[in-house]
């Protein structure tokens, strides 16, 4: 059984999308990977950040992200899988398959085919090694040229390995020990009797000894390719009416959900894509939807309807739709979402009721309130459409200097009412640029249509100079907020920006 190993060197750097210049990936200020340009400048693995920067000031530093490495390697696995099944990912940047003996006309041609395919997907530094065992194949790949391959002939592993230094073993302690024992090459290690190595180094040493002799014929476990869950609906001819499209995708949506259920999965985040029917298949609309529980077929159809209806022309989509695609972005095991023995409880019911209101009024008509940090009462609340996760929420636990202390107003107006506050002698009360009040408030009206009334009591100002970088009419202007109590006992939160007054909220 021959093994083919594909090695993409410096994978963390490739996965981070670095350019051609010197670049290194670091964890805890130590270099874990760097590219060829950085190596030329003397950067090595394990080097400290400041040493690396001293040697190469223009070095681009990137944070290590193992998840990113795995994610970026997935297309490589898929590309190799398309040529030959049974791919075993060893680690990000390194994979093994059984070498095809004859199919591509020999091992070298197979290696050439795989290298060509990977270069086609944008991975330019690919090296391939073929040998009897995995360890030899990996070492062969490390000795191959860029986009090249090295084949160790049958039974030639031991001869190939014996010239290699012990440094190739990825274990610094062991390498140090072997060197101190005077074993500088794998050949020296392989020449020792297996029995003596086992008694001196134990099972681990015996394993390394087998590796060095090229007789460790353990096959890597190949992965099962992930199921293809993406579903497409093609329209012949293309359709423009939202109603017709929604009706036509119904059956495919049911198949899509049933297909997920066959794998024991449910979809909690879904991307709906619509493509035109022109030659280029231009993307008309693409949007991700999340669900508070999981998508049923009806929910999927609803999302298609809302998404296409949101286009400016209303019931007609801007251009004829030739294809609708459902891409499950997050799938979770159905067991994690199973109903209890006595049904799913209230939350399931709530979902249905909310879905009915959404069907009546539109997707974003039903919202969930979230508290967040801010200075004005309107800034301190966030309304998130039902089914979406709140994003960019400012923390309410921060101090927010300039915000109005508790109690919070019970009514917060969406659009502040224009109003007026006057002081002694009917002169309007304003706040100067330095936050000084020009008079004592005496009379006010709220802007709701009720008339003027006397100020019984007032508090403030809480002055804030917010968003001075925004290009508004009065950039950098001071905004002052006041609590004003009328003689009828009503209390209001008013804002004074320059010479104008607004009612922002009410304490009812």
């Amino acid at each position: 059984m021959r093994v083919l190993v594909v090695w993409c060197p410096d994978w963390p750097v490739v996965a981070a999308g670095a350019g051609l210049g010197p670049c290194a990936v670091l964890t805890r200020s130590a270099v874990v990977a760097c590219n060829e340009a950085a190596r030329e400048q003397g950067i090595r693995r394990g080097m400290r950040r400041r040493d690396a920067q001293a040697r190469c000031p223009e070095l681009v530093l990137l944070d290590a992200n193992p998840d990113r490495d795995v994610r970026a390697f997935e297309p490589v696995l898929a590309a190799v899988e398309a040529l030959r099944p049974g791919v075993a990912p060893l680690r990000p940047g390194l994979l093994a398959i059984k070498a095809p003996g004859r199919f591509y006309g020999g091992e070298e041609f197979a290696a050439a085919t795989i290298a060509e395919k990977l270069v086609g997907t944008g991975i330019h530094d690919v090296r391939i090694g073929i040998a009897d065992d995995l360890f030899s194949a990996e070492q062969a790949a490390r000795l191959a040229d860029v986009q090249g391959w090295r084949v160790i002939e049958r039974g030639g592993s031991a001869a190939f390995l014996c010239a290699l230094p012990v440094d190739v073993l990825d274990d610094a302690d062991l390498v140090g020990l072997l060197q101190r024992l005077g074993l500088s090459s794998l050949g020296d290690l392989a020449a020792l009797p297996a029995r003596d190595v086992l008694t001196r180094f134990g099972a681990y040493g015996a394993k390394v000894h087998r590796l060095a002799r090229g007789v460790d014929l353990v096959q890597p476990a190949s992965r099962t390719p992930p199921p293809d869950l993406v579903t497409e609906v093609v329209f012949e001819p293309a359709m423009t009416s939202v109603e017709a499209i929604s009706f036509s995708v119904r059956r495919k949506a049911e198949e899509f959900i049933a297909g997920l259920a066959q794998h024991g999965l449910v979809c909690t985040a879904l991307r709906v894509e619509a493509e035109g029917d022109d030659a280029k298949r231009s993307l008309l609309s693409s949007r991700s939807w999340v669900h508070s529980r999981w998508f049923s077929a009806v929910d999927v159809v609803d999302r298609v309807h809302w998404q296409l209806q949101a286009s400016p022309s209303g019931a007609l989509v801007g251009a004829p739709v030739g294809l609708v695609r459902f891409v499950p972005e997050v799938v979770e095991p159905a067991a994690a979402h199973a109903d209890g023995l006595w049904g799913g409880g209230t939350d399931e019911l709530i979902d249905r009721g909310v879905a009915r209101v959404q069907a009546m009024l539109g997707y974003d008509a039903v919202v969930v309130p979230v508290r967040q940090g801010g200075r004005s009462p309107a800034d301190r609340q966030l309304l998130v459409p039902w089914g979406e996760r709140p994003s960019a929420v400012r923390s309410p636990d921060l101090p927010w200097p300039g915000s109005i202390p508790s109690p919070a107003p019970t009514r917060v107006f969406v659009e502040p009412w224009a109003t007026a506050v006057i002081g002694e002698g009917g002169r309007p009360v304003t706040v100067t640029d330095r936050g000084v009040l020009t008079g004592v408030p005496e009379r006010f009206h709220t802007g709701s249509g009720s008339g003027w009334q006397q100020v019984q009591d007032w508090a403030g100002p809480w002055s804030v100079s917010e968003q001075w970088w925004e290009s508004s009419e009065r950039p950098g202007a001071l905004v002052a907020r006041f609590q004003i109590v009328g003689v009828d006992g009503s209390a209001w939160l008013m804002r004074c920006d320059g010479d104008r007054w607004w009612t922002e909220a009410a304490y009812e």
Partner: protein, 215 residues
């Protein structure tokens, strides 16, 4: 008197078929008002609406707020409404009735800000749905056929001190009117840290002064 009440209770429960369960009610209104499933209650201000909403929400009920775009989310959270079990329909427009009916099917308490001029028939239709689904409606505005009407008769804010302080406490007189009976009044206060409670109800305050030996 209690016999009459018991008989009334039995008549009421036989009329609808669905027994009317008591709902958690704000402790400040104890003795004046007991919310029940299937009932509609009328309030005239946001503060009272939130107070009525808070007790069931705190006990774990889902609640919905329909038609109140100016609902103060932070005040609601401060007064005990669980925002994670609250849904808002800020602007239902002309579909307010359908949206309310759909939400009454699934949540326990709906706070509705009805448009002006709701007719008897509309209120009756919602009332039938309320009894069938054992839900409760809190109408922030006029609602024909409500069981009780809560209104703020007078309100007094403390703490502003003409520019030297800030609003902290509030005293308010709330009247609870049932049908044609004369309204009953209660004096409440909104105090920092404790929310709404009966005025004059104070717990023993621990003194800051250390005990001193005498004699």
């Amino acid at each position: 008197m209690s016999t009459v009440q018991q008989l009334q209770e039995r008549i009421r429960s036989m009329q609808d078929g669905v027994p009317r369960q008591p709902l958690p009610t704000h402790p400040a209104l104890e003795g004046l008002l007991q919310l029940r499933t299937g009932g509609a209650y009328e309030v005239d201000s946001a503060g009272l609406a939130i107070a009525l909403l808070s007790a069931p929400s705190r006990e774990g009920s889902w609640s919905a707020v329909v038609g109140a775009a100016d609902f103060g989310v932070e005040a609601a959270a401060e007064l005990g409404v669980d925002l994670t079990r609250t849904v808002l329909v800020p602007d239902p427009g002309e579909h307010w009735l359908e949206a309310t009916a759909a939400l009454l099917d699934v949540v326990s308490v709906v706070l509705l800000r009805p448009p002006p001029g709701v007719g008897e028939r509309t209120a009756g239709r919602i009332g039938a749905r309320l009894r069938k689904r054992s839900a409760t409606l809190i109408a922030w505005g006029r609602w024909p056929g409500s069981e009780a009407r809560l209104s703020v008769e007078s309100s007094h804010w403390i703490g502003a001190d003409r520019g030297h302080g800030r609003l902290t406490d509030r005293r308010l007189v709330v009247s609870v009117a049932r049908g044609s009976a004369p309204p009953r009044r209660v004096e409440l206060e909104l105090a920092p840290g404790v929310g709404l409670r009966r005025y004059g109800f104070r717990q023993a305050q621990p003194t800051d002064e250390p005990l001193r030996g005498v004699g």
